[in-house]
């Protein structure tokens, strides 16, 4: 069944779109990432114009995050106080990111920036997580208990301390605000929600327990992607509601199944799977940069400023 998309102005098989939304929703539910870093490249791959892919991807992420957060809330897996603190930093960072994005767009090198930041950040985070989870699995096999997260890191010595009961933390608000701001910045530059950076940053930098990380990350992602959806719709008219709706229907179903699967997997397994996924995407983009493309020319409808 073909579906003509009014904003993208292409006709695509509706079941292909449903399936795509379903897969991304599934991953989003399992790992607590918004899925923006997957949906956007996939949409471009099936022939949606890049601008529409980025903006509509953001819209789809809103729906799957809302659905995921509601499930996590019943499991008491959302630290609202931490989420709001992260969000405060995130909005500031995102605003700065949108400004930098615009400056580079004028310079004509935004494609390279986006690709390079995908490779660098996805590669780095994927490698770190992979190494960490391998170590954790080896520890459990040896029969030692997991390392206590309650170490005295630099986060415990800064002023403006705040109690985050759901996370069982009593730390300064400066690190979470800084984490939120840098993730918001990168999210705006890379056109994604930022969950794949947020999740490891919460675990390794803030020392939050894995139990609340996914829900809190999804909570923050709702607002970051909502912000960018409205921004895109307002500035470039690139949100395709019909496309988003089909992706959402597939996505919300996938997300529900994903949350159930995620609850059954062990934290280490979860992390190693996410690490492999992040590494795979990073590897694919690196290949695009390194190998000679079969078509050296590309078309961009409309005259760039």
């Amino acid at each position: 069944m073909q579906l003509y998309l009014p904003i993208a102005e292409v006709s695509i098989n509706a079941f292909l779109l449903l399936g795509l939304g379903g897969i991304v929703g599934l991953l989003s539910g399992i790992f607590g990432v918004g899925g923006g870093f997957l949906i956007t490249p996939l949409l471009m791959f099936i022939g949606i114009p890049p601008a529409v892919a980025v903006a509509t991807g953001a819209n789809q992420v809103v729906a799957s995050s809302v659905s995921g957060v509601l499930s996590q809330m019943r499991r008491k897996g959302v630290d609202f106080r931490m989420g709001i603190v992260l969000l405060g930093g995130g909005i500031v960072g995102a605003a700065a990111g949108i400004w930098v994005f615009d400056v580079l767009r004028r310079a004509g090198q935004v494609d390279l920036l986006v690709q390079l930041s995908y490779v660098i950040f996805l590669g780095l985070i994927g490698a770190l997580m992979f190494q960490e989870s391998l170590r954790a699995i080896r520890r459990t096999k040896k029969g030692e208990g997991p390392r206590r997260a309650h170490q005295h890191l630099i986060v415990h010595r800064l002023p403006l301390k705040m109690k985050f009961r759901a996370s069982g933390l009593y730390i300064s608000v400066i690190p979470p605000v800084a984490v939120g701001a840098s993730v918001g910045f990168l999210a705006a530059v890379m056109g994604v929600g930022g969950g794949f950076i947020m999740v490891p940053a919460m675990i390794y930098l803030l020392g939050m327990p894995t139990r609340v990380v996914i829900g809190t990350s999804l909570f923050q992602i709702i607002f970051v992607s909502a912000f960018s959806t409205v921004m895109h719709a307002y500035t470039s008219q690139s949100v395709d509601i019909l496309l988003a709706l089909v992706l959402i229907i597939g996505g919300v179903i996938g997300a529900q199944i994903g949350t159930t699967i995620g609850a059954r997997l062990k934290a280490e397994q979860l992390r190693i799977l996410l690490a492999l996924l992040v590494l795979a995407v990073s590897f694919k983009i690196a290949l695009d940069l390194l190998l000679e493309p079969s078509e050296l020319y590309s078309l961009v409808p409309g005259v760039l400023p």
Binding site: S11, N59, V66, Y234, I249
Partner: protein, 254 residues
């Protein structure tokens, strides 16, 4: 198909009854449809261009040929080239083409190079390279226009079908076009050329109005006229879908 046959019969009737004044050959033609509506389940459309050659005197010497072109709305395109810099393939040079048609199809009775002189190609900008070069850019960047034609040709947006026009008894002709599903909105120009020995002796131009319809039209207009409302609508829809799915699954599980 029946409508076409009927219309052809009517044209022939008109030809037989028509006044015997002009000595030259002229075209009489029609389209199977003048309007195409793009609705949500639009997956391409077929149009038939049919007509007849009207002449009062006996047919002159030389081969008779017909060329039919369908041209979609033009818009600016930036063509970029990738080059290897520091081991990475990155965009380097780019050329802005001020206007290139989003769709361009040609159907002919015989190979284009045999039936069309270069002068008349230039004058009427019939072949694919002429149709693009005529609107905007110069000859100094042939690789970029070649790339544009190659890429759009691969996606079926630029189409040359030699021999696709049926010409019967030096009088009746017919060409079928299949418009792809990825159509853009706008006025599509249909041009019909009648050629004698490589020279255009008559031409006819008509238009097809391609428009989005129903939900497609409402969403498109809303996105451009009230972008903020559209953005908020997209958000509300997404949030509602997320909540509804969650609620539905909770009921299913319990």
């Amino acid at each position: 198909m029946r409508g076409v046959t009927l219309a052809l019969a009517l044209i022939l009737g008109a030809l037989a009854a028509g006044p015997a004044a002009a000595s030259e050959e002229t075209i009489v033609a029609g389209l199977s449809q003048n309007r195409i509506g793009i609705s949500a389940n639009f997956d391409g459309s077929e149009i038939i261009v049919y007509g007849a050659v009207h002449r009062d005197a006996p047919a002159p010497e030389g081969a008779l040929d017909v060329i039919v072109t369908v041209e979609g709305p033009s818009g600016p395109v930036t063509v970029r080239r990738k080059e290897r810099r520091f081991g990475l393939w990155i965009n380097t040079e780019s050329v802005k083409i001020s206007a290139a048609p989003a769709f361009y199809a040609i159907a002919t009775t015989a190979p284009l190079s045999e039936i069309l002189s270069e002068t008349d190609n230039l004058r009427h900008r019939i072949s694919i390279p002429r149709a693009i070069r005529a609107v905007g850019i110069g000859e100094e960047t042939p690789q970029f226009t070649d790339a544009l034609i190659r890429i759009r040709g691969r996606t079926g947006a630029y189409l040359l079908e030699e021999g696709a026009v049926d010409l019967a008894g030096e009088t009746l002709f017919r060409a079928d076009f299949i418009l792809p599903a990825n159509l853009t909105e706008g006025l599509f120009d249909v041009r019909i050329f009648l050629l004698r020995a490589g020279v255009v002796v008559d031409s006819l131009e008509t238009q097809i109005d391609v428009r989005k319809e129903g939900l497609e039209r409402i969403l498109y207009r809303l996105a451009y006229d009230l972008p903020l409302v559209y953005g908020v609508l997209a958000l509300v829809l997404a949030a509602f879908a997320g909540w509804a799915a969650n609620a539905a699954f909770r009921i299913l599980r319990s």
